[in-house]
Symmetry: C2
Subunit: 561 residues, 2 copies
């Protein structure tokens, strides 16, 4: 309630105006204007399901093979799950992990788990038991919902883990009976109240999800996402992808990948239909697109590449105008071109688990419509501009945080700012502080900025290998290699790979007098790592180093490209 006096000397422009000597008292626009139950509610994407159940009722929410769930049924299953979990004591601060492919129960979990206040921890189904055990331990798993197709790995992970979670088995009727490790999922659901009244989070900053990312170091980091961020990015997806009406969305992107890039919530917000699919066999994918009149799907470039290389009798079934959102790795312009030649409309996005999936979009400018297919594909292959729901995106010199010039040449690190950034890494203050240093989230990805403001990734973050859409930490592989009795030094880098986009390639030097074969090394890794993480090539050579003794991976990478 301060008063101010405008000074004549400073503001001589207003010299002659009668109000020059105004004295005013500010208004208190907060007095008796506080938040209340009517005008404030914590943002959460969970409310999209309640709305959809109210409005879309009998419309189909989920399709899986011959199964159909209406929005009412979807809502009831989510509430039953929340209620069943609550009855066994699950509450805020607890962790419910899910190990499952793209099946309806996983969609239930994307709503039902956070409805209890607990955090949803989705596990990458391709991980090895050791890494899963780390996840269960570090994330303090209390309940584990697990598809029986993964019983063997999970059983081993539970043995390795110090946790003793309640296990609920999801037996997918489309696969043979798997070994049971606990309760049956639908039996468990039946203990829940279909009219369970869930409460929004106490605070929209509360944690909603915990996703482990291998990141660039060997230790998986637990990315904690909030209700607020997930709500905003869910809406951001709709606007960026220009989704309207009632999309029919096919799950080709793994739901365990950063909560399916928020699409379980985005599609529910619109009252669209989510078509589940266990695997991504290209013929099955195209059959599902055709049979279910699919309008939208997401996928890493490798999935798109696989689709465009399907048999021609399948390709004939791909409907013109199929909307395809891609992210996860910069798709080669060639892949975009092949997709568009088939009549697909590709939207290229960019993001990371830490930023709720995609939040940068290669927004199309209609002025580019008349360019050649090659030029259009090149423009589209750029990462683009920020979502409406992202507050800051720039390419900077991480040393002094200066913005690099928008010349399409100078390389810097992609930095983010805004509400769709993770809360941080669980129990890892050091990594959190580093990631958020100087008030920006450091992506670790290197890019240029074009004169029109669109960013384009020029290099992956230093070490990460993206193989078949999966992040593989070179440091983790190196950790295994260093355990080998014959290996002195090791450095793993990405090698371009026709099938997987990239594959790990290890450069190793041997201890004096030792001798091993490429096959020996690969087999050794297979004993210790998930197969997809194992190097596909071993090169025995000296390792180039900086003056301070750091291995120069970019030199190794240059040898491979």
């Amino acid at each position: 309630m301060a008063s101010i006096i405008i000074c004549r000397e400073t503001y001589c422009l207003f010299w002659e105006h009668p109000s020059i000597r105004w004295i005013h008292i500010v208004v208190n626009f907060d007095k008796e204007l506080a938040k209340n139950q009517a005008n404030y509610q914590p943002l959460t994407p969970l409310s999209f399901l309640s709305r959809a159940a109210d409005i879309y009722k009998e419309k189909t929410a989920i399709v899986y093979g011959s199964q159909r769930f209406t929005y009412k049924e979807f809502d009831i299953n989510a509430r039953r799950l929340a209620s069943a979990l609550t009855k066994i004591g699950v509450k805020k601060g607890d962790t419910v992990s899910v190990m499952a492919p793209n099946i309806p129960a996983f969609l239930d979990a994307n709503f039902g788990v956070p409805m209890t206040g607990a955090v949803l921890n989705s596990i990458n189904i391709r991980l090895d038991s050791r890494t899963i055990a780390f996840n269960l331990d570090h994330g303090e798993c209390d309940v584990l919902l697990t598809d029986t197709g993964f019983s063997e790995t999970i059983k081993e992970a539970l043995t390795l883990s110090s946790r003793n979670p309640l296990v609920v088995d999801i037996q997918d009727m489309n696969i043979p009976e798997g070994e049971r490790l606990g309760m049956d999922y639908y039996e468990f659901l039946s203990t829940g109240d279909p009219e369970f009244v869930w409460k929004p989070p106490d605070d929209e900053w509360d944690a909603l999800a915990l996703n482990y990312t291998s990141g660039t170091t060997g230790n998986p980091k637990g990315v904690v996402l909030s209700h607020r961020g997930a709500y905003l990015n869910s809406l951001g997806n709709l606007i960026a992808w220009q989704m309207t009406g009632k999309p029919i969305y096919l799950w080709t992107l793994p739901m365990f990948h950063c909560n399916g890039w928020c699409f379980p919530w985005s599609i529910t917000a619109l009252g669209g239909t989510q078509v589940c699919l266990r695997g991504v066999n290209p013929i099955e994918v195209i059959d599902s697109i055709y049979d279910n009149k699919v309008t939208h799907l997401c996928g890493a470039p490798i999935v798109l590449n696989m689709l465009t290389n399907a048999p021609s009798e399948s390709l004939n079934k791909v409907p013109k105008g199929l909307q395809v959102l891609t992210a996860g790795a910069p798709p080669p312009a060639a892949v975009i071109k092949s997709c568009e030649a088939l009549g697909m409309i590709v939207t290229q996005t960019y993001g990371l688990t830490e930023v709720y999936g995609p939040c940068v979009v290669s927004e199309w400018d209609s002025a580019w419509d008349t360019l050649s297919a090659n030029e259009r594909a090149s423009l589209k292959a750029r990462q683009g501009v920020r979502y409406q729901t992202l507050e800051g995106l720039d390419v900077m010199n991480p040393g002094d945080m200066t913005r690099i010039p928008a010349d399409g040449k100078t390389i810097g690190e992609i930095m983010f700012q805004g509400n769709t950034m993770m809360k941080g890494y669980l129990k890892n203050k050091k990594a959190t502080d580093e990631a958020f240093s100087n008030g920006w989230f450091h992506s670790g990805d290197l890019a240029v900025k074009h004169p029109d403001g669109y960013i384009e990734i020029k290099d992956r973050s230093k070490d990460i290998i993206i193989s078949g859409g999966e992040n593989i930490s070179s440091v983790e592989i190196e950790g295994v290699l260093y355990q080998h009795p014959a290996i002195l030094e090791a450095a793993v880098v990405a090698k371009p790979d026709q099938t997987w986009g990239e594959a790990p390639c290890a450069f190793v030097t041997l201890k004096a007098g030792m001798s091993i074969t490429e096959q020996n090394v690969i087999e050794y890794c297979r004993e210790k790592l998930a197969h997809y993480k194992c190097p596909k090539t071993i090169i025995f050579s000296e390792l180039p180093k900086t003056s301070t003794g750091k291995i120069q991976k970019h030199v190794l990478r240059d040898q491979l490209s």
Copy 2:
């Protein structure tokens, strides 16, 4: 960090499971995961302009006659305005009022004023000087931006007001020079820094706008809107209206009406073009649609009605597929039918100033595509379902707050809940408390709920008259009538009117021995009220009353319908 023990007896289902005796400690998902500059920013629609200036740069943001402003220029003007205001001391807690039709300077103000932290107070240009003076006084106006077309009214209002604001004249080059009351707007802008760095609000709950609504009582109430609510409803608009690409939006809705229903911010979020227009002469409107390739416009039903009754040589210019959003009063199904016969696509919405404009939409169900034009218009004329960004909408019995059955017959009051509700009424705790009683915002509008969940207004709130899209308080008119020496009692109700939708009709009884004519009464009102508020019909008759002596307005209304 509490621990829980699952009780065997209660959860016998899990009796045999090894995890039955689990004891767990909850995880602290907030520890070292606090908000910081990188992962949290207060929500504000102002950031849409910064984003647009970054991304859309040279694209046309604003069109006004032969004038064009690119997004860079729009952003610069907003920053200049913010800077010029800041230089004269405007800051958080101050009020900047604007009296202007739909011209570019008003768009500048929708961003530039709140960029200073001050509150934007848009004034209805049709108001009389007395009411404007009340607005300036109650809202504690510090700076007044005023179009010289309204100098006469404003000059009088300033005389009546106890405030002494700094006045900035906006001289629209499309109208004759008006009387100057203060600084010139563009001269004022030139004192501002085009690179002014605005700060987001300290808190997204901070006030952004103050809009006076006549409401149902004679005293205008100051609706205070927050940055958070405006941000969310701006995105809600895009999703509800299915806006994609780069819309070309024509300003037929007054920007002073509840911040143009948030569209100054919504269109900027998409990088669309806003076409300004001073008046709503139907021929000029259609010419502008044609000349500027307009894709979208909003308007009260009366505006739509006016358009559909334009001369046929004009109507031939209306492009097929023109998207029209209507709200403000339930449009007669006949108006929707006429619009759609011309190829317009009408989206019917519902809202109030207190809820940031539209936040309920008559969402179209493709299952209705095959119905007759009459049936389709009737379905579309319903108010509909809540926006994705609205948390609660229901029809209730205000007495006991029970939900009325969704039978399409039972009438109740429309109630809202969520983040797109006003903060409250400025300096009016009683009205705020009443509006928010029992945790819901009470709209005062009466509706039924159909079995499919869509709501439909059956009656306006008891007293309000909506004439030409303007709310007119019957109580205010009655207040004037009661001052007339010959009038004993008066009751004003809405009378259906072909031009204005509704017009005030006064029922009066005279004092004993007195005699006056209808013309006398109307002229008396014209001396005291804005012309549009004056009753168009005076009926001399007894007033029906309840046993407790209250006038039964519904009986009067029945006489007129």
